[in-house]
C-alpha cells in the first residue's frame, strides 16, 4: 500500500499537467454554470442595500426575503448545480480515460496526444462500466442500508433507546458510504484493467477489478484511506485559513484560497489514480498492452 501510495504521489510530480487539466476542466465548467447565476444575483442583490450583509456572512432572513422577491433564483441555482453534476459525470469519464492513459502509456507522444487518446478511446467503455456499477451499487445500498433505516425508525417509535436508534441510523449511513466506496474502488480497478489491457469486455474487466480489490483489500482501502486523510487535512487547513481571513477581506483572497484547495484536491485525485495503477501493476505486472497495438487503434493507421 505504501509503495503504491508513494508511486501515486510520484505520478503527480511526473504528470503535473494532469492536475492542471483537471483543475481547468472543473473551473471552466463551474464558471460556465455560475456566470448566469452571478448575473442574476447582481441584478437581484446589487440594488438592495439590505443584501450587503451577505458579503460578510450568511443571513437566513435576507435569503428568505430574496426567495420571495425572486422565486426563480434558488431553483435556477439548483438547476445549474444539477446540470453541472451531470456534466461532471460525463467529463469525469473523459478525464479518467485520459489520465489513466497518460499514467500507463509508455510511448513518447506529447501529453495532449496521450490524454486525448485515452479520453476518447475509453469513454464508451467507462460509460458502460458505470452503467453496470451504479445500479448494482444502488441495489446493494438499498439491501444493506434500507433495513437499517427501517430498524432505526422502528427503534425511534418503539424502543426509547435513543443512542441505539441514532447508532442504527449512523450504521445505515456507514453502510451506504461503504457500498459507495467499494463501488468506486471496484470501478477504478476495472478502469485500470481496461486501460492496461485495452480489452473491450467491460464485464470481464469488472470481474477482474473486483478480484483485485477483494484479494488485496488492505492495500486498496489503505491507499484510498490515506488519500482521504490527506484530503481531510487539506480541507481542515482550508477552513482554518478561510476563518482567519479578516471580515473585510476582498472576495479575491477567499477565491484564491479556494482554488488552492481545489488544486490540492485535484493532485490527490491524480495521486489516487497513480496508486491504483501501481496496485494493479503489482498484482499483474505481466499484463501490459502492446504499445504498437495501442498506437494503431488510436490513430487508425497501420
Amino acid at each position: 500500500m505504501w509503495h503504491a501510495t508513494v508511486e501515486g504521489f510520484r505520478a503527480v510530480s511526473r504528470e503535473r499537467r494532469l492536475v492542471l487539466v483537471l483543475w481547468l476542466f472543473g473551473l471552466a465548467l463551474s464558471l460556465a454554470a455560475v456566470f448566469p447565476v452571478w448575473r442574476a444575483l447582481v441584478l437581484a442583490l446589487g440594488p438592495l442595500p439590505g443584501a450587503d450583509v451577505l458579503a460578510e456572512r450568511f443571513s437566513a432572513e435576507v435569503v428568505a426575503d430574496l426567495v420571495e422577491l425572486r422565486p426563480g433564483l434558488l431553483p435556477g441555482i439548483g438547476a445549474a448545480a444539477a446540470s453541472t453534476f451531470a456534466l461532471g459525470l460525463l467529463f469525469g469519464l473523459v478525464f479518467a480515460g485520459g489520465a489513466l492513459e497518460v499514467l500507463t502509456a509508455s510511448d513518447e507522444r506529447p501529453f495532449a496526444h496521450r490524454f486525448g487518446r485515452g479520453a476518447f478511446r475509453f469513454f464508451g467503455r467507462f460509460l458502460r462500466l458505470a452503467a453496470i456499477v451504479l445500479p448494482v451499487a444502488a441495489i446493494f445500498a438499498a439491501l444493506l442500508a434500507g433495513p437499517l433505516f427501517a430498524l432505526a425508525g422502528r427503534l425511534r417509535r418503539e424502543s426509547g433507546a435513543e443512542w441505539v436508534a441514532h447508532g442504527t441510523n449512523a450504521a445505515a449511513l456507514v453502510a451506504l458510504g461503504l457500498v459507495l466506496l467499494v463501488a468506486l474502488l471496484v470501478q477504478d480497478a476495472a478502469r485500470v484493467r481496461l486501460v492496461r489491457t485495452d480489452q473491450r469486455r467491460v464485464r470481464t474487466a469488472l470481474r477482474e477489478g473486483l478480484g483485485r480489490v477483494w484479494r488485496n483489500k488492505a492495500a486498496w482501502f489503505g491507499a484510498w484511506g490515506f488519500n482521504a486523510l490527506v484530503l481531510l487535512a487539506a480541507f481542515a487547513a482550508y477552513l482554518a485559513l478561510a476563518e482567519a481571513l479578516p471580515a473585510g477581506a476582498p472576495w479575491v483572497a477567499l477565491a484564491l484560497l479556494q482554488q488552492a484547495f481545489v488544486i490540492a484536491r485535484g493532485a490527490l485525485r491524480v495521486a489516487l489514480l497513480g496508486a491504483e495503477v501501481a496496485l494493479d501493476a503489482a498484482q499483474a505486472p505481466a499484463v501490459l498492452a502492446d504499445p504498437s497495438l495501442t498506437e494503431d487503434v488510436t490513430t487508425g493507421l497501420a
Partner: protein, 713 residues
C-alpha cells in the same frame, strides 16, 4: 424649598408603602382534591375527586360543564382526531394507542346523583361522536356567591403519548387527565351577550382555558417511580403493597399535571432572588418599568429538572434556561409567585409530550445529538425551556382563553421568549458549522415566504391549517408586538407589558383588555394598529420600487415673448451645463417611487441618502406639506418625521432637487416595521453594488467544483 423636600419625602413614603400592584392570590373558583392510582401495566388511572366550585358571577348557574379531554383519543371519530388526522406537532398518533376517560359516579355533597341527566355536548362542530365536553344539570342553581361540592369517581385509560399526554413504556406524562370544569362567563364577559359555560371541545389546534383554584392531588403508584407534578410535594409515604403515595398541593393555579418514570434523574437547583440577579439588573429593570426596587424584587424558587439519563450532559443547560426564565420574565412582568418549578425532559419516543406548559410544571425536549459538536450550539433546549416557562406568565397567570384568542398566550410568549433568550444567551438560536440564525430572524422566515396571514384573532380551531394557526398565533404575533415596540419605544412597550400583566394576573383578559392597556400606557389611541395587525389579515410590505438620480438639465427651447423671445439651443444648453459642472453648481433631480404591496398602513418615514453622507428623513404623510417647502412640496411629504395622517395610497412618487446626488432611499430606515413581510425591498440604491453577488458567486464556483469532484471530475 422646605415644602418641596417634604412633598418628595411624602411621595417616596407613599411609594414605599403603596400596595404591590401584583395581586398576591388568585380567586378560588374551581378547586380539586384528587386521589388517583396509576396501574403501570395497564396504563389505567382510577380516581376520586372532590370538586368545589364557587359562583363568583352575578348569575345563578343551573348546570356544570366539564372537559373530559382524554376522550379526544377515544376513537377516530373524535373532533380532535378528525381535525388532526392523527398527526400533530410533528408527532404521529400511534396505532391503537387509544385513550379515554369515564366518570363512574358524580354526586353532590348531599349525595344527590347527578349522572342521570348528564349529556355530552359538542358546542363547536355538532360532532355527536365527540365526548370531550360533558354537561351536568344541577338539581337547583348555584346562586351568586354560592358554592357547590361534588364527589366524583372516574376511570381513565392513558393513550400512547401523542399530543402532550400519555405513556411510553415506563414513562408517563399525565396531562388533561381528570374531569375538569370549564369557565362560567356571565353576560358581558369578553363580548358575551348572555351568560354561559365557556367549555370548548378538544381540538387539534387549540389548548386550554380554566378557572383558578386550589389543588391537592395524591398519586399512588409503584415505589420505583420518580414523580414530578404541579406544585409542592407535601407528603410521600410508602405503602406495604409496594406502592407509594406522593401528595402535591398548589393554590392559585388552573390546572394540574404530573409525570412518572423510574428512569428520571432528579436534578435540584435553587433560583435566588438575591444572588442570581445583580443590583444593577434590578436597578435597570426598575428604571425601565418606572417601578420601585421592591416591586421588581424576585423571590426564591426551587427548581427540579427531571432528566433522561442520556441527556445528563445537558442538565446544566436546562437549569440555566429555567433560571433565565424566572429571572427575565420576573424582572419584566412581575415576580414568579410559586415556590417550585419542575422541568421534565421527555423520554425518547415520547416527543409528543415535549414542549408543553402546565402551572409550575413544564416539559422541555432535547436529544443526545445536542450533547456534542457540531449540534451543541443549537439553543433549542434552552429555547423550549424558556418558552414553556414563559407560559407561566402568558396563560398560567394571565389566563387568557387559549381556545378563542391563542395569540394572547402563544404570541405574547413568543415575543417575550425571544427577548429573554437574547438577554440570557445572546442573539443566536441556531449555530452550526459556521451558519447562524438569530432568534429575531426565525419568525420572519415564514413571514417572508409563506404569507400565511389570516386574522390573528381567530378561534384556534378555525384556522385553515396547523401551519396557519402556528404562524399567526406565534410568529406573526411576535412580529406584531415587536412592531408595536418599534412604534411606542422600548420603555413604553415594557411598561405596557408590565401593566397588562399586573392588572390581569390571575384573571381572564381578552384582546380588548390588552388594547385598553396599550392606549392607557402609551397615552394614544392604537386601535388602528390592532385593527390592521390583529383583527384583519392584511400584509405589511412597503418597498422602494424605483429610484433614479440625474443631473438637472439646463432649459432648452423658446423662452420670453415679443422682442424678448429667445431660443436656447441644445448646444447652448450643453455649454451651460458644462459651465455649471465646472463651477460645481449643477443640481441633481432624484425620484423615488415608494410602493405599498400590502394592505397594512403604518406611520413610516423615508430616508434619502446623498453623496457625501448627507441624509434627509421625512414622514410619509397624507397631510399637505407646509408652504414654501420647495423640495418636498411636490412629493407631498412632511419633513422631519412630523406626524400627520399616514399616507394611505398605493404608490407615492417622491422627487427632490438637491446639490448632491442621491445614492439610496430607505423606507422605515429605523427598522421598526418588524411585521413587514419583506424587509429586503425596503431600501434601494441608484447604482448596483455587485459585492454580495460576487462574493456568493465565488463561493458557488467553489462548491460547484466540489460537486464536480463528487461526480468524478
Amino acid at each position: 424649598m422646605k415644602h418641596g423636600i417634604g412633598a418628595v419625602l411624602l411621595a417616596l413614603l407613599a411609594a414605599a408603602g403603596a400596595a404591590d400592584p401584583l395581586p398576591a392570590r388568585a380567586p378560588e373558583i374551581a378547586s380539586y382534591d384528587i386521589e388517583v392510582r396509576l396501574t403501570p401495566g395497564t396504563q389505567r388511572l382510577s380516581g376520586r375527586q372532590r370538586v368545589t366550585w364557587r359562583n363568583t358571577t352575578p348569575e345563578a348557574v343551573g348546570e356544570l360543564w366539564f372537559h373530559l379531554y382524554l376522550n379526544a383519543f377515544r376513537n377516530s371519530q373524535s373532533t380532535f382526531v378528525r381535525e388532526s388526522g392523527g398527526q400533530l406537532r410533528g408527532d404521529r398518533m400511534p396505532d391503537d394507542g387509544w385513550g379515554w376517560t369515564e366518570v363512574t359516579s358524580i354526586r353532590t355533597a348531599e349525595g344527590v346523583d347527578l349522572a342521570q341527566g348528564a349529556t355530552f355536548e359538542h358546542p363547536d362542530d355538532d360532532n355527536a361522536e365527540d365526548r370531550t365536553v360533558w354537561r351536568v344539570p344541577l338539581p337547583e342553581p348555584v346562586p351568586p356567591g354560592g358554592t357547590i361540592e361534588l364527589e366524583m369517581t372516574f376511570e381513565a385509560q392513558l393513550p400512547r403519548v401523542f399530543a402532550r399526554t400519555g405513556y411510553f413504556r415506563d414513562y408517563f406524562l399525565v396531562g388533561q387527565w381528570f374531569p375538569k370544569l370549564g369557565v362560567y362567563e356571565p353576560a358581558g364577559t369578553r363580548g358575551r351577550a348572555s351568560g354561559g359555560w365557556n367549555c370548548h371541545q378538544f381540538h387539534a389546534n387549540s389548548e386550554f382555558y380554566a378557572d383558578f383554584g386550589r389543588y391537592r392531588v395524591a398519586i399512588t403508584l409503584p415505589q420505583r417511580f420518580v414523580v414530578g407534578a404541579t406544585g409542592k410535594r407535601v407528603d410521600k409515604r410508602d405503602n406495604p403493597d409496594g406502592t407509594a403515595v406522593h401528595v402535591f398541593e398548589q393554590a392559585d393555579v388552573h390546572d394540574f399535571a404530573w409525570t412518572a418514570s423510574p428512569r428520571f434523574v432528579e436534578v435540584k437547583a435553587r433560583f435566588s432572588g438575591a444572588t442570581d440577579v445583580t443590583a444593577a439588573e434590578y436597578a435597570e429593570a426598575a428604571a425601565l418599568l418606572g417601578r420601585s426596587l421592591e416591586e421588581v424584587r424576585l423571590s426564591d424558587v426551587d427548581v427540579t429538572i427531571l432528566m433522561q439519563p442520556e441527556h445528563m450532559r445537558q442538565a446544566e443547560r436546562h437549569v440555566a434556561a429555567a433560571k433565565a426564565g424566572i429571572k427575565w420574565f420576573g424582572l419584566w412582568y412581575g415576580r414568579y409567585p410559586y415556590e417550585t418549578l419542575t422541568v421534565v425532559d421527555p423520554a425518547y419516543g415520547a416527543r409528543g409530550s415535549g414542549g408543553m406548559e402546565y402551572p409550575t410544571f413544564i416539559t422541555a425536549g432535547t436529544t443526545v445529538l445536542f450533547n456534542r459538536w457540531p449540534l451543541d450550539r443549537l439553543r433549542l433546549p434552552e429555547e423550549v425551556t424558556v418558552h414553556e416557562f414563559g407560559h407561566q406568565y402568558w396563560q398560567g397567570m394571565v389566563a387568557s382563553n387559549e381556545f378563542e384568542e391563542s395569540w394572547l398566550d402563544e404570541g405574547f410568549n413568543s415575543y417575550a421568549t425571544g427577548k429573554a433568550m437574547r438577554q440570557a444567551f445572546g442573539p443566536w438560536t441556531l449555530e452550526v458549522l459556521g451558519l447562524r440564525v438569530s432568534s429575531a430572524e426565525l419568525p420572519r422566515l415564514g413571514n417572508s415566504v409563506e404569507r400565511m396571514f389570516d386574522r390573528v384573532r381567530t378561534p384556534a380551531w378555525r384556522y385553515s391549517s396547523s401551519n396557519n394557526y402556528g404562524f399567526n398565533s406565534y410568529a406573526r404575533t411576535d412580529l406584531t408586538l415587536r412592531t408595536l415596540e418599534g412604534l411606542l419605544g422600548e420603555r413604553t412597550m415594557a411598561r405596557v407589558m408590565r401593566t397588562y400583566h399586573e392588572r390581569f394576573r390571575f384573571r381572564h383578559p381578552s384582546s380588548e383588555d390588552f388594547y385598553a392597556v396599550v392606549d392607557e400606557v402609551a397615552g394614544r389611541d392604537m386601535r388602528g394598529f390592532f385593527a390592521q395587525a390583529v383583527e384583519r389579515p392584511g400584509v405589511l410590505d412597503d418597498e422602494i420600487a424605483a429610484i433614479t438620480s440625474a443631473r438637472v438639465e439646463p432649459p432648452r427651447g423658446v423662452f420670453g415673448e415679443g422682442p424678448a423671445r429667445r431660443t436656447i439651443s441644445a448646444r447652448e444648453a450643453r455649454e451651460q451645463a458644462r459651465e455649471k459642472d465646472a463651477a460645481g453648481g449643477r443640481l441633481w433631480r432624484s425620484t423615488v417611487l415608494v410602493r405599498r404591496r400590502g394592505e397594512v398602513v403604518l406611520p413610516a418615514t423615508l430616508r434619502l441618502e446623498f453623496e457625501g453622507g448627507d441624509a434627509q428623513v421625512m414622514a410619509l404623510s397624507e397631510a399637505e406639506p407646509p408652504a414654501g417647502s420647495v423640495d418636498v412640496e411636490r412629493a407631498g411629504l412632511m419633513p422631519g418625521g412630523a406626524g400627520g395622517e399616514p399616507w394611505q395610497g398605493r404608490f407615492k412618487r417622491v422627487e427632490v432637487v438637491t446639490p448632491r446626488r442621491l445614492l439610496a432611499a430607505r423606507v422605515d430606515p429605523e427598522g421598526r416595521h418588524e411585521l413587514d413581510v419583506n424587509r429586503l425591498n425596503d431600501a434601494r440604491r441608484v447604482e448596483p453594488d455587485p459585492r454580495a453577488a460576487t462574493t456568493w458567486s465565488a463561493r458557488l464556483v467553489f462548491w460547484m467544483q466540489q460537486l464536480l469532484a463528487l461526480a468524478g471530475l
